[in-house]
Point group: C2
């Protein structure tokens, strides 16, 4: 396969869910989005999505939508950017052009529920070549406040690059490596802008904000008041 | 100590946080509530709280407040039960008389952040003799749908009654036994009402709704369509 074919393949890569039972469902209810294949025309609503940006707070994800609409010159003075998930209070979702913006609450279980339903939504909507980016704030070690960290790998509370889950009674260990070429692309974009310091690094993700993240970071004895580093 | 003295002791039991540094803080900012000791008179706002009922959804916790206001004959036609945490979108909080109602989002990390700040709030407000109850829905095994389960113990994804956290680099294991006398009291209240089936049981709590809870319950081969059992 030559370079052009590889490029074409990438551009037509569908969001595919490895679940043979999914297409047999008469109505797949994405409960925490208040959406479903029986009640909504998901291809019409979401078929053009190419980027999904997710973050904890619903208010921030609405602000992000307003920001990205201006960046893409796709502002609509008549649109208040309605919450697509207005039928529920679990998550909020906004869309402008090819960019979907979704809140995920706080913590791994909350984002896991959202990602399950989001990936099924993108599959049902026949989306292709989708990039998903999480945007959020965190503390940082050895970095100036305001630095943007593009995460290459996330580590757990013991500094190991793994995510463990108990599925059907067995512990399943998953890799936490992220897309290295996307990370490099984001780094280059930031260099082009030259507006803020951007680095590639790791992000610690624990099961508690206070006793998990802070206590483990304090343990390093290297905390240098570098809060509100932006991770993506 | 006789029975009366024991009763008095219970009725004056303060909410005490075992952190010697807490009272030295000039301003303790309860960030995810958008409240703080420097910005709010917490004893005036919350000093009379005796019951805190928590649940995932903000909308449900508002409905619960409206319900409990009617039950306590403390309805105020002029009050729309304003969200005390309106300055943030992380949690929602409502109060009617001695009952505080707080949302906690989905998952252990989300409820952990809320409980950290809630317990500090009750401490700063000089609350005494407070009972905290979580109300929520879940699947159930071997129970009729609609059954209320008063949890005596929660179990993790491997069916063990423990909660593990990594704090300062070490794994800390905590008990998940709940207040047995409160469980009995709630069971007796329900028997007095005689409106729905109520049992005392265990609740499984995992780190993911889809791959955690459902897969582990399915493993039991005993699922009997008993969804929407209410746990408290």
């Amino acid at each position: 396969m030559d370079k052009k074919e590889k490029q074409n393949e990438k551009c037509n890569s569908p969001v595919y869910v490895h679940n043979p039972h999914l297409d047999a469902l008469k109505d797949d209810i994405l409960y925490h989005f208040s959406l479903g294949t029986g009640s909504h025309n998901l291809p019409a609503m979401f078929g053009d999505v190419k980027f999904v940006c997710v973050g904890g707070s619903p208010w921030r994800m609405k602000s992000f939508t307003e920001f990205i609409a201006a960046e893409l010159a796709m502002e609509d003075p008549k649109s208040g950017y309605p919450n697509i998930c207005a039928g529920t209070d679990r998550y909020a979702m906004y869309k402008v052009g090819p960019v979907l913006s979704v809140s995920h609450g706080m913590g791994i279980p909350s984002i896991a529920i959202m990602l399950h339903e989001l990936i099924k939504l993108l599959h049902h909507a026949h989306c292709t070549d989708v990039t998903i980016i999480r945007i959020g704030t965190s503390g940082g070690i050895g970095l100036e406040p305001g630095t943007v960290v593009v995460t290459k790998q996330s580590v757990d509370a013991t500094f190991l690059p793994k995510f463990e889950q108990v599925i059907l009674g067995k512990t399943v260990v998953r890799s936490t490596d992220l897309d290295q070429s996307l990370a490099q692309e984001l780094l280059q974009c930031s260099k082009g802008l030259n507006q803020f310091e951007t680095v590639i690094g790791n992000t610690m993700c624990t099961l508690d904000f206070y006793e998990g993240v802070y206590s483990n970071v304090l343990m390093c004895h290297r905390l240098k008041a570098t809060f509100y580093v932006i991770h993506c």
